[in-house]
């Protein structure tokens, strides 16, 4: 039992997630990204307490004013405080970004995992369904949903997610197909592990890299998609706003009132940068091979 005593001094084993967290916390860019995102969420959530203004009260007499002590980021053409609108808009944008992506992630990853792992005819049928959905015109699909179910912000999340999962499913399936033929999967099968365990323990952790990278690309995509739909009158309606909507109105008055474009643009860019840093950091952290010893 001497070996057992020796073993103890190496401490407890760590799970993949614990190890990943340790590695992530050593990556400065990723930690910075994470903190920025958390701050953004907190600010958006507590918007009501942070500013004395309301996002919808207009002050037509004030009109568009440049940043000042009273209005830190200035006001828009209707005299509404831009900072307030950005904070409230953040609620919508971040919610759309995370929820719609989560929907895409859940459907896409499970769809891809199942199709890739089972393979054969099941795979054929599942991927043809994806192909058919790909061929559907996105805008018409959303309009259809809105017409049938009425305008509803959560429906919007679902609708966007339901479109974005297609690419995710394809990426995951492709990865699973290559990993499926690795010998450690054969070893797991011959050990008598159930398909569930094999998918969760042996396949999923090995496809996380591409999933995370694609997720960080999907979130900004979704945020911009929302502003596009709002522009068409299908998304968020005034007086509510979102970052995307603020930017698109800012573009209209870019020459007279540049701050209406610059600040929302900066906030969106900051969010996207943070996401990318965090995504890269997560991808590296989840791969034990990149660990520095």
């Amino acid at each position: 039992m001497k070996s057992l005593e020796n073993l103890k001094q190496f401490g407890q084993g760590h799970s993949l997630w614990q190890d990943a967290w340790t590695r992530l916390s050593r990556n400065k860019a990723a930690v910075l990204g994470l903190i920025t995102l958390i701050c953004m969420v907190l600010l958006a959530v507590s918007a009501g307490w942070l500013t004395p203004y309301s996002y919808e009260t207009q002050d037509l007499a004030l009109g568009a004013t440049p940043p000042s002590a009273a209005h830190w980021l200035g006001t828009d053409t209707l005299g509404r405080d831009l900072l307030t609108r950005l904070l409230y808009g953040g609620r919508v944008s971040l919610m759309v970004g995370f929820l719609a992506t989560a929907v895409a992630l859940i459907i896409g990853v499970s769809w891809g995992l199942v199709a890739g792992y089972i393979g054969g005819r099941v795979d054929h049928v599942m991927m043809r369904i994806v192909d058919i959905l790909y061929a559907m015109p996105f805008t018409i699909f959303i309009i259809l949903l809105m017409v049938v179910f009425g305008q509803n912000i959560f429906l919007l999340f679902l609708a966007i997610g339901a479109v974005e999962w297609l690419t995710m499913a394809r990426i995951v399936r492709g990865q699973v197909l290559t990993i499926r033929h690795q010998e450690y999967i054969d070893a797991a099968i011959t050990m008598g592990l159930s398909s569930n365990v094999i998918i969760w323990r042996h396949i999923l952790p090995n496809v996380l890299g591409p999933i995370i990278v694609y997720t960080t690309l999907t979130i900004p995509n979704v945020i911009l998609l929302e502003s596009f739909l709002s522009f068409l009158g299908l998304g968020i309606q005034p007086p509510h706003s979102s970052w995307g909507a603020l930017i698109s109105t800012g573009v209209d008055t870019m020459e007279e009132y540049p701050w209406l474009l610059i600040y929302p643009g900066c906030v969106l860019s900051l969010a996207l940068f943070s996401l990318n840093f965090l995504g890269d950091g997560l991808r590296d952290a989840l791969d034990p091979r990149t660990a520095k010893n």
Binding site: L4, N6, L7, G120, D186, T190, G192, S194, R289
Partner: protein, 564 residues
């Protein structure tokens, strides 16, 4: 400018003189020296064999001679390589290009990837011709046909219009050699040219290189990890270890009187002879049958389209195979690539769907089992895979990998688990201290030990080892073989040992089955198979093994059996 010693400048005998060459690689972890002060001379018409294990720097050395190393990360620290008064290491790219494929030809290891799949053979073979000589494509085409004929390819005119995928591995390597030789080079560099080939094809390619060399009087640098191959082809031999040339001499000297400890170790690592402890033949009786395979057929459908396969493309990978394995014995399964030996192993493991026949383990028929019973039956069957880099999940620590296997039958307390894992690691000769590391932190040999531990953890009745040592260096290979033999003896394991390497099977197996085109053509006691082979294919196979003992070199009797 580098100063060139006068002795070398006047040395007319040497075609290529490499002097004190050092190459390093810049990596995140720091500078790694790949070649450390290598010096050698290459004489016209002679073959210089460079032998060493993976990472010994032998390939880097060859690549540097043609300026094929990418820099960064590679840095040529110092040294010269004089060829016809030019230093190949400092020659500008445009002058190097005039030498590459013209005065120095090169053949690479993998014939499957070194030809462009989108270009016909003809277009690729005439490329070096058109590049280096001012001739019309039509003339070049004619010369290319002749070159293909010289390397022993049938119907060269027709082959010119074929694409690489239509050719077998051996044929492709012949094409590569034809390309390398087409401009009548003075030097041919062959980097592991037969490693990816079957043993009978390997014998043919070696014979071909020797023949061409004799006819055209060119110098050959032949790199290989395989001492048998080097013994068969080289006049002079360099033995490399960790970037250094540790021993040099005539082939005869090196193999008969090795001086350096590493060379001796290399030679001693080649498995020779038979299994050290014999299986008691009395064990082979009706009551002791563990596994019985009867009339097994595993076919691959040619076409996986949605509406059913095309029967014309069906491959009969295993075609009507029957045999028994008795408790406690090791059955060797030997054959070349495509003979169906791996398919047979995977069929027994229930990793592939069989078409016909029965597989009976412990009098229990496996084919008809439901998922739950199959899971139970699987505990008794475990597999050791070929590639230790692919057979361990890279995201899970060794502890988790082994713990999973240990808890397959029933779960354990943490304390018991830790004790079991550490005793398993002891069993396969690994320090328990490594238990919380990830697979990438281990060498190939250590990984294979972990994979063996995982198979043992399930406490199977039968282990199928599918080429368990063919991805490993020869010294590591012998360690793993010793470990397996030791485990077989200590735990009374029953094993099916699959390998393409006849000497390994001879060393490991009590009985040997020879597979050829999906069938077992010979199955007998290992010694009977090796000393008195009955089937012509077995005879061909045995004659093609490169043997290190130069004095007992068997002449190549290989026919074109497998290449057709």
């Amino acid at each position: 400018m580098r100063s060139i010693p006068a002795r070398q400048r006047t040395d007319s005998l040497s075609l290529l003189t490499v002097n004190n060459l050092s190459i390093s690689f810049q990596s995140r972890a720091g500078r790694i020296i790949a070649v450390d002060g290598a010096s050698f001379e290459l004489e016209p018409g002679k073959t210089l064999g460079i032998v060493g294990e993976s990472g010994s720097g032998k390939s880097v050395l060859c690549y540097s001679l043609l300026g094929l190393l990418r820099s960064p990360p590679a840095i040529i620290e110092k040294g010269t390589a004089l060829f016809d008064g030019m230093d190949l290491l400092t020659l500008p790219e445009h002058r190097l290009r005039m030498i590459r494929g013209n005065r120095i030809g090169m053949v690479f290891q993998d014939p499957m990837t070194s030809l462009n799949p989108y270009l016909s053979i003809g277009k690729q073979v005439i490329e070096p011709l058109c590049l280096h000589r001012q001739i019309s494509r039509k003339t070049a085409w004619g010369i290319a046909i002749q070159a293909l004929e010289e390397v022993g390819l049938d119907g060269p005119a027709r082959l010119m219009n074929n694409y690489p995928h239509q050719l077998s591995g051996g044929m492709r390597q012949r094409v590569m050699i034809a390309m390398a030789m087409i401009n009548k080079p003075e030097i041919l560099i062959a980097d592991e040219p037969t490693t990816a080939l079957d043993v009978t094809i390997q014998a043919q390619i070696l014979e071909l290189i020797k023949e061409l060399q004799r006819e055209k009087n060119i110098a050959v640098i032949f790199v290989s990890h395989d001492l048998g191959v080097i013994a068969r082809i080289a006049d002079h031999v360099l033995v490399m270890q960790h970037g250094r040339i540790v021993e040099r001499g005539s082939a005869n000297d090196i193999f008969q009187h090795p001086r350096h400890a590493y060379t001796r170790n290399l030679l001693a690592s080649i498995p020779t002879g038979t299994k050290p402890h014999k299986y008691d033949p009395a064990g082979r009786n009706q009551h002791n049958v563990l596994l019985s395979v009867q009339h097994l057929k595993t076919w691959y459908d040619g076409d996986n389209s949605f509406f059913g396969g095309n029967t014309d493309l069906t491959v009969k990978a295993v075609d009507n195979v029957s045999f028994e394995v008795y408790r406690g014995e090791t059955l060797g399964l030997v054959g070349e690539s495509g003979s169906g030996k791996s398919t047979l192993g995977r069929s027994i493991m229930q990793l592939l769907d069989i078409k016909e026949g029965t597989i009976t383990l412990n009098n229990q028929e496996l084919a008809g089992l439901g998922p739950r019973q199959l899971k139970q039956a699987r505990y008794n069957l475990q597999m050791i895979f070929q590639d230790p880099y692919a057979s361990l999940n890279p995201r899970i620590t060794i502890f988790d990998t082994l713990a999973e296997a240990l808890q397959i039958r029933n779960s354990m307390s943490d304390r018991d688990l830790l004790a079991a894992v550490s005793s398993l690691l002891n069993d396969v000769g690994l320090e328990p201290a490594h238990v919380y590391k990830y697979p990438h932190e281990f060498s190939g040999g250590q990984r294979q030990r972990i994979a063996i531990a995982r198979a043992l953890a399930v406490k199977p009745q039968l282990i199928i080892a599918d080429e368990p040592v063919s991805a490993l260096d020869v010294t590591i290979q012998s360690q793993i073989l010793e470990l397996l033999l030791d485990l077989v003896r200590r735990h009374g394991l029953t094993m099916i040992f699959i390998s393409h390497d006849l000497s390994v099977v001879r060393y490991m197996a009590d009985r040997t089955a020879v597979m050829y085109r999906g069938r077992i053509v010979e199955l007998d006691h290992t010694e009977t198979v090796f000393n008195h082979p009955k089937h012509p294919y077995t005879q061909t196979l045995l004659s093609a093994i490169p043997v290190v003992k130069l004095t007992r070199k068997i002449e190549n009797k290989a026919t074109e059996i497998t290449e057709k």
